[in-house]
């Protein structure tokens, strides 16, 4: 049988860089095929070529054995190739049913749409995938995960042969990932081919049949997943062994925790947090984890001063007034690095310099008058300190990779001398080498005496980093684990027990 899609000797260059060099591989029909490689390896260029957004300089693409010259994304769609983006292309004000059939509305009598026909059609598509949605609900009420599933339902309705998923789990919780995987397996059962791109290698081993690895624009190999293991795959991606182990990152037990930096005392916040108390000391890294809705996100905002809880007290250095508003907390030395980097931390259209100096200006650490020359030199120094790869600090921050953007944000806070750091998902959308650099930076901050809070759902990350782990459940702290004891299994078990508190625990 001919491969569903075959890339033959694809070359693609952009001024100044060769993005793809002689890449050839094929995807068998009905396979779940993973595409991996670090940022800049060329995966995305390849996807853009497959979806008609870019044209290759040389080489051909064959779909089911026929050569295809894609001139536009529209043509790719007509050829049966669909890309699922994250939470994009959803018409917020339309209902779920309308979104699913959007662009393919059922035929209507006299030009009037029939609401019931739309619902019938949408339900049929959801049934096919085994999904359940409230069809009449407006799409804006959907969670990020549900939006993604909705997009898949829509893609299926366009008779897609190949569905490309670019980092589909980037903002999903483990439970939601499982639902997504069930849907992907359902697609496979229907004979639809999936090209799956992810930084999460465990996911690839769970779901993919085959893996193609790209490095520096060249094909490393395509292999069946069962012939590989994670360390091997990492070696293929990076060419050298990159270690992500607790011993490497955490660097052994230390007992240097000092004064209390943040004190949380009997904090309650609506239904999100109830009677939460704990301390974070200088010189320790406390990780907080829990399922979506367990209160971790609200806790992040309370710790950073962005929200003031109606009940309970948050102290910073023993002072109750500091956490009363975000500007005051920032001035009091509390850095906040939120999880949704693009929306909550960055000014995407502005320069690296403006972004790295944001807290500096906000807090007025260097006087009232701004001197552009000095400003650039300072930004340059801060970027160098954090090893940000950037040629010109005046270039827009959106041209940087996720890892470099995150380093810029860390630089922003080290510049103003913050001693307390609240991180939310510190390595979301960051490739593995940058991840490890960020982990080392976090441990470095702790070693220098800072108090660091990491709120994360990445259990491997928590195990590698934490001195202490708090596991949240229904707005309460369900348990506390010492860092070395907080293996992925231990935290996961505690979370599962929490979720199924009253129910029978299957595992």
């Amino acid at each position: 049988m001919a491969p569903l899609i075959e890339f033959k000797n694809i070359h693609k260059g952009f001024p100044g860089v060769q993005a793809l060099t002689d890449v050839s591989f094929s995807v068998a029909p009905g396979d779940i095929h993973a595409l991996v490689g670090e940022n800049g390896a060329g995966k995305s260029t390849l996807i853009k070529i497959a979806t008609g957004a870019h044209r290759p300089d040389a080489g051909t693409i064959l779909i089911e054995g026929e050569e295809l010259r894609l001139q536009s994304p529209r043509e790719a769609m007509e050829a049966g190739i669909r890309v699922i983006y994250q939470e994009r292309h959803i018409a917020e004000e339309l209902t779920v049913a309308e979104n699913i059939v959007l662009g393919q509305l059922p035929k209507a009598r006299y030009g009037f749409l029939s609401g019931s026909a739309i619902k019938r059609e949408a339900q049929r598509k959801l049934d096919r995938l085994g999904l359940h949605f409230d069809l009449a609900a407006p799409a804006r009420t959907l969670s990020v995960a549900d939006r993604q599933l909705l997009e898949i339902a829509r893609a299926v309705s366009f008779h897609a042969k190949l569905i490309v998923m670019d980092e589909p789990t980037a903002s999903l919780h483990p439970g939601e990932v499982e639902v997504l995987f069930d849907v992907i397996r359902g697609l496979k059962a229907e004979g639809i081919t999936v090209l799956y791109i992810s930084h999460h290698l465990e996911e690839i081993f769970e779901i993919a049949d085959r893996v193609t690895v790209l490095r520096d624009g060249q094909l490393v190999d395509t292999a069946p997943t069962e012939d590989l293991d994670i360390p091997g795959l990492i070696r293929m991606m990076f060419g050298e062994q990159v270690r992500m182990e607790r011993a490497e990152i955490h660097g052994g037990e230390t007992d240097q925790a000092g004064e209390v930096a943040i004190g949380v005392h009997r904090v309650s916040y609506g239904r999100s947090l109830s009677d939460v108390s704990f301390d974070v000391r200088y010189g320790e890294l406390v990780a907080i984890t829990g399922a979506v809705g367990s209160g971790t996100q609200e806790l992040a905002r309370v710790l950073s001063g962005a929200e003031t809880p109606p009940e309970g007290v948050v102290t910073v250095d023993g002072n109750e007034t500091v956490a009363a508003s975000r500007p005051r907390a920032a001035a009091g030395g509390v850095a906040f690095i939120p999880g949704d980097r693009k929306r909550q931390a960055l000014m995407l259209d502005r320069s690296v310099a403006d972004n790295v100096l944001l807290a500096d200006y906000a807090l007025g650490r260097r006087g009232t008058v701004v001197q552009p020359r000095r400003e650039n030199a300072l930004a340059r120094r801060l970027c160098d300190e954090q090893a940000v790869k950037v040629t010109d600090v005046r270039q827009p921050i959106r041209t940087l990779s996720g890892g470099n953007q995150q380093k810029v944000i860390i630089g922003r806070w080290s510049d103003v001398g913050s001693q307390i750091f609240v991180f939310e998902d510190p390595t979301a959308g960051v490739d593995i080498p940058s991840k490890i650099e960020i982990y080392r930076t976090l441990r470095q901050l702790v070693a220098e005496g800072a108090a660091v809070v990491v709120i994360s759902t990445d259990l491997q990350e928590i195990y590698c980093l934490a001195d202490r782990v708090l596991v949240m459940r229904n707005g309460e702290i369900a348990g506390v684990l010492e860092g070395a004891a907080a293996t992925e299994q231990a935290v996961f078990d505690m979370e599962m027990m929490s979720i199924n508190d009253d129910a029978e625990v299957g595992a």
Binding site: F14, P15, G16, K48, M347, L348
Partner: protein, 366 residues
């Protein structure tokens, strides 16, 4: 607008003087067409009418533009911070009426009058600022309501009639300094102070941050609520100053005199390169925008163009300018998506950005 990293070598070899760099380098492609338009228009009109290209006419254009110019400064500050005030035209009307009444009925001196109208301006701005900052009502809708309320106050106070007053603020008409009359000098002073404040102080940086991403700014410690209140207060106080200049120009309190000024202000600012989406704009650009409209308006008079055509010309200038910048922006984005993101220096993953195929629709000109 961001510097084009593809031309980095030339940008590096040529260093802008430090005063120009923050306001100039990135916006030069906005300024140049406006200056060219002004010069071109002057040459054309001058060739048809000898009186156009005279110092006297130049001064008259500046004088006529001063109220609009001052409004544009306040509005630019607000727009850069991500807000908007649609009630500045009615503020001008109401202020002119209040000034006229204070002179006619209370024989108040100029300084007390100025104090009164500045306090009124500050109060209006304070109310707007507090509502926008704490109740989070969109400023567009709030100030649209404010427009009606304020114009109604002006109409009520004046019994809907224009109040002619002979005396009062004569100095604004007669006093000259460095060859310019006082309103022009005041306008220039406002420009310099606001330009410094917006482009060379940390307050200005906070305004840009707030307009670029309010949430990122707040979470980074920018006191966004305070900044919002200050911006609205400054804007309304400048509107009050513009109202006094307007009064001095026509020598009357005109309850309908400021109708439409808010939209002209926005037109001038958009010509000057500000974005209605916030986070982008310069004082110099807005000044050039106001000046362009002033020159167009004067040319129409000197060319004897019937009055009914002048809105058409204004509309044409605005739409034309917006189209040109929008097209330039699309081309720039096309160029930058294929070049910048793949340039070897930036290790960006080209795919990090899914926007590349679809240029984001933006409000206003860039």
């Amino acid at each position: 607008m961001t510097g084009d990293p593809t031309r980095k070598p030339s940008a590096e070899s040529f260093r802008w003087p430090s005063v120009i760099s923050p306001i100039g380098r990135e916006n030069i492609r906005v300024y140049v067409p406006l200056v060219v338009a002004i010069i071109g228009l002057s040459i054309y009109t001058g060739s048809r009418n000898d009186l156009f290209l005279t110092w006297n006419n130049f001064e008259l254009i500046l004088l006529a533009s001063a109220p609009l110019g001052i409004l544009a400064v306040g509005q630019t500050l607000l727009l850069v911070g991500g807000h908007l005030d649609l009630s500045v035209g009615s503020m001008v009307s109401m202020t002119s009426v209040i000034v006229a009444l204070l002179i006619r009925d209370h024989s108040l001196g100029e300084v007390p009058i100025l104090v009164v109208v500045l306090i009124i301006g500050a109060l209006v701005g304070l109310i707007y600022g507090l509502i926008v900052a704490f109740i989070r009502v969109p400023s567009f809708i709030l100030t649209l309501g404010g427009l009606s309320v304020i114009s109604s106050i002006g109409l009520t106070l004046s019994n809907t009639a224009t109040i002619g007053v002979r005396e009062g603020f004569g100095s604004l008409r007669s006093t000259e300094l460095l060859g310019f009359r006082l309103p022009v000098i005041i306008w220039m002073a406002v420009l310099v102070v606001a330009g410094f404040g917006l482009h060379f102080t940390r307050f200005g940086r906070n305004v840009f941050a707030m307009g670029s991403s309010e949430e990122a700014a707040y979470l980074s410690g920018v006191p966004t609520k305070l900044t919002t209140v200050v911006l609205f207060m400054v804007n309304s106080m400048l509107a009050a100053v513009a109202g006094v200049l307007f009064f001095a120009r026509i020598g009357a309190g005109a309850p309908r005199g400021g109708i439409g000024l808010e939209l002209t202000t926005i037109a001038a600012i958009v010509l000057g390169g500000a974005s209605l989406a916030g986070g982008r704009g310069t004082i110099l650009g807005s000044f050039l925008g106001v000046l362009t409209l002033g020159f167009v308006s004067s040319s129409l008079t000197f060319l004897d163009v019937p009055e009914s055509y002048s809105p058409l010309v204004f509309g044409g200038v605005l739409i034309g300018a917006v189209l040109i910048t929008a097209i330039a922006e699309i081309q720039r984005q096309r160029a930058s998506t294929t070049v910048v993101e793949h340039s070897p220096e930036s290790d960006a993953d080209p795919a990090d950005d899914n926007d590349t195929e679809i240029p984001k629709p933006r409000q206003g000109a860039e």
